[in-house]
């Protein structure tokens, strides 16, 4: 394609090609500290015009690659960066065949990892981003990569996708040059991407052992609550949070049952981010230390 970028993010490499310069320019700026991937890459993402003339006329970006979602709506060119990010997510979600992929945010401290998984809107990305700026190493805000051979979690520190209210929370804590452009009016509202700090990027090939699984739930009227989650419930919820559990067969079963039998799990309800951060530290001290 006319414009290309090769990115190494943790154990996965991506070749992102685009018919337009702007998405690759935005992506290069956002991922400026990341190593360039060697060819051939594991996954290919292509940002293409929906029809040839739509490269110029009301340009709209279709996401293509090794794996595609039929019927996925194209995005306007000003959201090209989001299209690239969605494309990388899609290739990983559908194409990852070796590592068990959980839709979860993960941070690490002292070689041990905290896994946070929950419904969209549970605050995983916000909590992971905040913890990543306060003594924890960000492993990833979107996917936890569980290695069936070792039981370790591999980092996948892509840019953190901050949405709506979370944007201002992080803008108050992180230098402006680590943010991508503000994307207004996307299908998920306002989005701004945050580049993880240097430690997260430089240690992106360093896995961590899972030590605590949290199922956060956010609600404006939700009273603060903590409850234990048994291994069976954790297992079922994590199979639902995985995009490739079925593909991995027996390896996936063994990896996930090992994870839930060896790792404490808790559910937390919160209505303020500060509460969630306090609960994380308290539970970490109780369960994982």
């Amino acid at each position: 394609m006319r414009h290309n970028l090769h990115l190494q993010i943790g154990p996965a490499s991506f070749r992102i090609g685009s018919a337009w310069a702007a998405p690759i320019r935005a992506l290069s700026a956002l991922y400026q500290d990341y190593p360039q991937a060697e060819l051939p890459c594991d996954f290919t993402v292509r940002l293409e015009p929906q029809k040839p003339w739509r490269r110029w006329l009301r340009p709209s970006v279709s996401i293509a690659g090794d794996y595609v979602l039929p019927g996925a709506a194209p995005l306007p060119l000003e959201h090209g960066l989001l299209a690239a990010e969605m494309g990388m997510n899609l290739q990983m979600a559908l194409g990852q065949k070796r590592l068990l992929l959980l839709h979860a945010a993960t941070v690490e401290r002292g070689g041990r990892a905290l896994v946070m998984t929950g419904e969209s809107g549970a605050g995983k990305s916000t909590l992971a981003a905040l913890l990543g700026e306060s003594g924890w190493r960000l492993l990833g805000d979107e996917f936890a990569l569980l290695d069936p051979d070792t039981g370790l979690l591999h980092p996948f520190p892509r840019a953190v996708s901050l949405k709506n209210g979370a944007i201002a929370v992080l803008e108050g804590k992180v230098a402006a040059d680590r943010f991508g452009p503000l994307l207004v009016g996307t299908p998920k509202g306002h989005i701004r991407h945050l580049r993880p700090n240097r430690e997260a990027i430089e240690r992106a090939r360093e896995p961590a052992r899972p030590a605590l699984i949290l199922f956060p739930r956010f609600g404006a009227d939700l009273p603060e609550a903590v409850r234990g989650v048994g291994a069976a419930e954790a297992f079922v919820r994590l199979t639902q949070a995985s995009t490739n559990y079925g593909h991995l067969g027996l390896r996936g079963f063994e990896a996930l049952t090992r994870l839930v039998t060896q790792t404490e799990a808790r559910a937390i309800d919160y209505h303020q981010t500060a509460t969630a951060l306090r609960l994380v530290e308290t539970l970490w001290a109780e369960d994982a230390a």
Partner: protein
């Protein structure tokens, strides 16, 4: 007249892991994962030894797992066998 004989795959084809009183089972042939409550795992363990009638299953369950054999236990066993058949873990031979 003797009733049907039930069969299940051998344990190596259905690895299990205990999860807080429940049992996670991976059925290798279908690639399906099942979460089982007692006495389903015990029934599968018995059937793995070879085709068995429901009366023999009940007798062995009573003997090995201290299952009460009074009341409508045979009916309950039949219901569990039917569920396991529907899940593809047990069949009649």
């Amino acid at each position: 007249m003797a009733g049907p004989r039930y069969t299940a795959d051998p344990p190596g084809a259905m690895p299990t892991v205990e999860l807080n009183g429940l049992t996670a089972l991976f059925h290798v042939r279908s690639g399906m994962t099942h979460i089982l409550a007692a006495p389903a795992p015990q029934i599968l363990a018995l059937l793995a030894e070879g085709p068995t009638t429901r009366e023999t299953i009940l007798a062995r369950l009573t003997d090995r797992f201290a299952v009460e054999s009074e009341g409508d236990v045979l009916e309950l066993l039949e219901a569990r066998l039917s569920e396991l058949e529907n899940a593809g873990l047990v069949w009649r031979s």
